[in-house]
Structures are given as structure tokens and as C-alpha cells.
């Protein structure tokens, strides 16, 4: 199948502004958008720039705006999109080159919520026990691959770049609701900030975009409920 592929390109060393380029690409029946990008890069224009590594949706490198929605290029098949495919960098993040965006601030926000187990009591000689129900409690939010599809799809984030964003909240949630963790208070305090959970307007773009199918909005609301319960 011939695909009409349009890519929003920008090379800071040459272009003043981002601009769309068109490519005609032959696509196989099970091809993914990543395959189209590779075809262009390897056969038509080597300067096309994008991140990718695992090629099967587990490393989070290639989140981008595809036909108007954030998705992983390696996880969306061309036949799910039709003959016209448009690809642009993740919205709301500074573009470095072509489809590559600057992730520094995104990871800084991740680090700001203390995304690590806090448990200062002495560890037992064997594993800490955890019931299957307690383990299930935070299962959903352990799946995050830090691809930024969620944060960069959030209209609140577009408007307020200081918003900590859904990805960071997801990763805070993963620890707040882990029965082994003792740092929930600290994290809830951080997320009670004006740029914390309150910026969420339950828009659900994040949940719709998450390639891991995490119910992000639910996680955010569970965190805000926890803050409210603590405060009121």
C-alpha cells in the first residue's frame, strides 16, 4: 500500500521554522509507523531524525504525535491509520531536531516526586512480605516506561509548563500505594503544591495516550483523594 506520509521537520542548523515534508512510502500489511520512518531514513533522506530503540513498545523512546494523537511509532500499525499519516514531535516540549524533543525537564519532574522506595526500617533477612492484594493495589502504575506521551498530551501541561505532569504523578502513585513504602507523606506534600495534582482538569488525554494502557487519570485522582483525606 502506498502511504502519503507527512513529517513536521526542523533542523536548527538550517531551518528557521518547522515545516512539513511529504514522502511517498510503500508499506507492508503489518508495518508500523516506525517502519515508515526507517524506510524514509534509510532510503530517502538520512537526515530524518527520531529516537527509537526496542521497536516493540517497551522502552519509551519513540513517542510522537501521529495523526493528531500521541503514540509510540513502533506500536501503531499503518493499517490502523489509513493511507494518510502525519507525524510531528510531541506537543508542548521543546523541539531539538525533527521528531526529537528535549526530555530534560520531563525527567527532572520525574525525579522531583521521589520515585524510589523509602523505607528506613531495617530490612529483614528475607523478602519483605506483601499480600497479593497489596501488590495489586499499585500494579497499574508500575508499567510506566517514561515515554512522555501522557504529559505532552495534557492541555493543562501545554498551558502550564510548570505542571509536574501525569507521568510524574503516576510514578509517585506507584510508591504512595506500595505497602512497603514509608515516604507517602513526603510525596503527597510535594504533589499538594499548586503545580502538583491540582493542575489536572480530568481531561483524560493522558490515559488515552498511554501506550501501556495505564489508567492515569484514576491514579491522579487517587493521589488527590489521598491528599484531601490527609488535610481535611
Amino acid at each position: 500500500m502506498q502511504v502519503d506520509l507527512r513529517i513536521l521537520r526542523y533542523d536548527p542548523e538550517r531551518d528557521k521554522k518547522p515545516h512539513w515534508e511529504r514522502y511517498r512510502v510503500e508499506s507492508g500489511p503489518m508495518d508500523r509507523v516506525l517502519d515508515l520512518l526507517h524506510t524514509v531514513k534509510w532510503e530517502q533522506d538520512g537526515s530524518l531524525t527520531f529516537r527509537r530503540s526496542c521497536a516493540h513498545g517497551v522502552c519509551g523512546s519513540d513517542a510522537m504525535l501521529i495523526n493528531g494523537r500521541n503514540r509510540l511509532a513502533c506500536k501503531i500499525r499503518v493499517d490502523q491509520l489509513g493511507r494518510k499519516v502525519s507525524v510531528a514531535p510531541l506537543p508542548g516540549l521543546p523541539v531539538v531536531k525533527d521528531l526529537v524533543v528535549d526530555m530534560e525537564d520531563f525527567f527532572a519532574k520525574y525525579r522531583s516526586v521521589e520515585p524510589f522506595l523509602i523505607n528506613d526500617s531495617p530490612a529483614p533477612p528475607r523478602e519483605r512480605l506483601q499480600s497479593q492484594e497489596d501488590r495489586e493495589r499499585y500494579d497499574d502504575t508500575t508499567k510506566c516506561i517514561l515515554c512522555a506521551a501522557c504529559t505532552s498530551s495534557c492541555p493543562s501541561f501545554w498551558a502550564q509548563k510548570s505542571y509536574v505532569g501525569p507521568a510524574a504523578i503516576v510514578n509517585a502513585h506507584r510508591f504512595i500505594f506500595d505497602s512497603r513504602d514509608e515516604g507517602a507523606d513526603e510525596r503527597l506534600e510535594i504533589l499538594a503544591d499548586a503545580d502538583g495534582v491540582w493542575r489536572c482538569r480530568t481531561i483524560f488525554n493522558c490515559s488515552d495516550a498511554c501506550p501501556r494502557g495505564i489508567n492515569i487519570t484514576k491514579a491522579i485522582l487517587e493521589v488527590s483523594s489521598a491528599i484531601v483525606e490527609r488535610r481535611v
Partner: protein, 134 residues
């Protein structure tokens, strides 16, 4: 603003405040209140009565003929003021950039809120009840 820890340092100290929790809560409480009051208000004024009937005299003599109506409308006013202005604050903070511009807009907004509070309260309190001596 959430303080972002330096590139790879460990824990950051929390800098949260209770204000946003309160705002969030008030938005929801007044939201529920408004669901009843505002919808009722709109229904009364459009379905029970027709706008054409509601002259100044009508309001003075019929709609506000009992204390309870005035009290309810004042409650509605308070809810709307809190809800509406906190809501607008959200919108302004989202879209008005720059410290000064935002400060000015918000100040204007809060002054408007006070003005509306005064106007609304004055009219509800001072409009003579029917039958009361002028």
C-alpha cells in the same frame, strides 16, 4: 512551583501549601450546591415564569416577597461568586502569561468579585419587602 531537584540529586524537600486543596474542595462543594440552586433558579425564571413578566415591580413584590427567597438567592450569589471567580482564576492562571499581567488580571478579577458581592448583597438586603413601610 514544584522545586525540581538538581539533575541527579536525591530527595527534595516538600514545598506544598494548603491553599490549592481548599480551592479544589470549594470548587466541588459549590459545584454541587450550584447544581441545585443555579438550575432551580434558571428553571424558575424561565419555565415557571416567563422573562417578559419579570419587571422590577414583579421582583420587588412577588419573587422576593419572602425572606426565604432572598436568602436562597443570596446563597446562590455567594456560591456563584466563589465558584465562578475561583474558576476564572484557574483559567487566568492557565492562559495569562507573565507575572505582572497575571497579577493585574487577578487583582481586577478579585475587585470585580468584591464589587459584585456588594451590589448583590445591597440589592437583596435593601429592596423593601412588600407591605413593609417605605
Amino acid at each position: 512551583m514544584i522545586r525540581v531537584s538538581p539533575r541527579s540529586s536525591g530527595r527534595v524537600r516538600p514545598s506544598g501549601s494548603g491553599l490549592e486543596v481548599a480551592v479544589w474542595y470549594v470548587m466541588r462543594l459549590t459545584g454541587v450546591g450550584l447544581f441545585v440552586l443555579a438550575l432551580a433558579h434558571f428553571s424558575i425564571l424561565h419555565f415557571v415564569f416567563d422573562p417578559a413578566e419579570q419587571t422590577a415591580e414583579f421582583i420587588a413584590t412577588q419573587r422576593w416577597n419572602q425572606l426565604i427567597w432572598r436568602a436562597l438567592d443570596w446563597l446562590l450569589l455567594m456560591m456563584v461568586l466563589f465558584h465562578g471567580f475561583l474558576g476564572m482564576r484557574i483559567v487566568v492562571v492557565d492562559y495569562v502569561r507573565g507575572g505582572t499581567a497575571r497579577l493585574l488580571t487577578l487583582s481586577f478579577l478579585y475587585m470585580l468579585a468584591v464589587l459584585l458581592f456588594v451590589l448583590g448583597t445591597v440589592v437583596i438586603v435593601t429592596l423593601p419587602m412588600p407591605g413593609s413601610a417605605r
